[in-house]
Amino acid sequence: MKQLKNNFQYEWLLLIRNKFLAIPIVINIIAWVYVLYEKSLLGSGTTVENQFYTYFIWILLLNLFLIGIIAVYIVNRDRDSKFEQLAMTYQVKNWQWLTGKWLIAQVYGQILTVLTVMIQIIWFFTAPMTAAEVLKQSIYTFAQMGGAFLIIVSFGFLCAVLIPNIFSYLAIPALIIVSVFLPFDYTGMALEFDNPRLHLLTPFDFMFVGKPYEGIWGIERVFQSTLIHQMAVIVIAILVFAFILFIFKRNRRSKGEKQLLLALLSITTAMAIVISFIRFTDYNQGFKQYVETGNFYIDTLLSDYKRGTEEEYYEDINKYYDEMQDDEHYDFSIEISDLDILLKEDHQLEATNQLTIKNNGEEAADEVLLTLNHQLNITACHSERELSCSADGDFITLTLAQPIQPNEEFEMKLTYGGEILQYFDEGSGESAFIDKRRVFLPKSAGWYPLIGKRTLFQVLEDEQLYVKFQIRNTRLVEDFPTQYNVSLQSEGVEVPLLMSIPKTENGKFTGTTKHGLELIGGNMVEQEVAGIRVISHPQLQESMSSIVNKYHQAWAGLKEWFDLDLMPKTIAVLPNNQYYNQVQNMTEDFYLLNEDTVYGEGIEEYIVNDLYLQVLRSGIPHPETFSDGGSSEEADFYDRIIFDELFNWSIYYQMEKESFTKYNTDQDWGTKYDQKIERIKEMEKQGDEYLLAFTRYLYDASNKLGNSKEFNIERLADAFEKEMKE
């Protein structure tokens, strides 16, 4: 031991006296300074955690490379100078010689870890966070980074010992690319060759898309599995090092050393297998369930589909999804729904639902359909009317003894419960969950009865993906509003719970909506901005109020100029991934914002794009571009573009009051476009309001004429000017 201490001390001397080894620390400091500079550029529109984790992975990868190289260097240094050969004639034991070096490389790595964690702690304390929360986050960072460095050093040593030349350095980037590249490039859709389970084979837990931090849910989802993952990483790092000791200069190794190493090897191997297995099953059950969900809903409609180029493919797919939107009309409605819910930790849900169902159709019927996720089991089904319930998959069929007449209502009561845990993106994220510190039950999870036969998931065969299908949420918009009275109770859930309908008193929510119910629990607050209820992370409160004000202006403008009433009653700010999962079923009642994009410069442009998409999604007649088939029956390409520009500008104008010419300066569509735009600029001279009126005029014309040749801006402008003069 004393010997080891000596070796370590002298290696330390060598380390601190080598000026090149200061480079990584300098690079780290530069990186953090850059991050903080960027942060000040972005303003404090987002949470500190979001900022930190956005850069964390980069800094981790950068350091992984640097530390790996240093590990290789530390071994190669004495070998290349032949000093190792001389040292091998000393009594020093193999393990002492290598362990001294290994420890010094580890210490070097952990210095960077501590540096990072310290920066994180200081940074996080600038935000209103509890000490416990900061501690948890720093443990996470420490486990991720520390474990990753531990194992990269071991592998660096392995490469250096196995490859006795300069190419041992190449092994480090190769290893990093091999292990990290697949999950790194991962966008939530693993391609055919990309088994998502292999994403577990990384030096740090990489089982997330983008970043581990999930807004109001923090790092709760990944925390525990990351600790297990990193435990496995640490054990494997030691295992690899023991293996290196075992193969290093075998002729120099004494018997005792060999036996000790064999013991260490077998112990670490056993531990590695057990812990890795735990981590694997932890992930694999999620993955399996994802596949089950996919297979449950799979639709083979497009099985003989031939892929064109990528762009064509996405166009086709989007078209398909648009066509398959779940917007089918159903004559029945749930008038009143009284829902008693009990949430339990570990994704358990128990509910009693009192429903008042009405026949809005013109004919009598004796069958009413409801939709409830098949993960939930119905335990009771009563009504004063004589009826029988039968469940098949997601669908519940109520068969009534007496047909129900038009405009007639009846009441019934359903009791159901079970586990509700759903995954997205090959199990690397959860889309419906009830946990201690995070709850999310979106409407699309089908966690309460919906009227009619609704498809909860659209699953499409896709040969190019590893799981052979892709999943999207459907757009569950109802034909008639429902009045919900929800009473909510929870066991073991420690965070505040909110719903897409307003809270009336403790645990009670009431509201009438066409959208349905969403239930969110996490680190969040509710505030009212310009009459809109906004649910967000507490740190986002301030920035959200200014952003929602802007949205409000834009929505108000849409209403004023185009009679489009799209203003929602409630806005929730969700993390990136959830946003993309849920964006399909946004409605005028309940609107989602993406935590990642709602800050920084150019928020107005972002809002313009967002609202433009909202218009597209809402099924209202809207300007339509980019289906450029070039057929002679269609409106001129440039006309459509100009109309689009005008429409977007008119949204923009509500917030910024900037003239069209200014808004349009960066556009570069060639000379033909420039000629046509001259006319618009001519009209602009009459004032911005004049141009807004013209845009409205075009909007009406477009609704009437569609994408036909008749839609000709030149001619419409003539007509408009004439009309205005009169």
């Binding site: 490379f65 300069i166 980037p173 690319i177 990290v180 790194f184 180029t309 762009e311 570069d668 569509w669």
Partner: protein
Amino acid sequence: MSGMFFRCRLFFKKWVSSIYGIALLAAIPIAAIILYHDFYYEETGKLLSLIFEQLAPIWLILILQRYFSIEFDSGFFTQVVTYPIARYKFLLERFLFACMLFFIMLGIIALVLTSIFGAIIWKAFLYTLPLYFFYSAVMLIGLVISKRSLGALLGGIFLFLLSFIGAPLLGQALQMIMLKYGSVIYFLEGKTGYAFADNDLYYYNRLMYMGFGIILFILALIKFQRKPV
């Protein structure tokens, strides 16, 4: 000049008489053939990007490293600088030898591919040149700072990693892997008619790398010329 020719020949002879050297040279065409045959590409750009922007830099790195290692790793360069040859010329010469080998091999591939895909290959090739130049300049800096081929190797590899994993960090303007984007290919083909506001960006991107490359290159030469060993 004849001296240089002799040295060039000597280096080349050494190169082709080692298994590693031959394997390295052969790797370029072999990988190109495999890539061409075994994968289906929806767009030519993907293949071009793979060959020119993602694999060729590795070869460039390895070829340069090997050339540098001959004199730098053995410490012989300390001797060479006592000979009546300007230091920067010596460095430049080694660099040129390595580049020659690299460009001859890549040229052959480009020639073959041209017969399949047409002139776009040459345009893509030319479009990537600034990138190669930047790679070499970074390696040269690494070399003169560390006085070992290791410095060059690490410099090159770091850049290579950056081009892959660091892509989002570099932002749009500094992207190193460009050819895989269809719009870049359109740009190279000189297609117009659509609005590509980014056209200038594609152009400046490479100008930027060329510029950085030249600056680093000159810095490396100056440092090598000045600094006593």
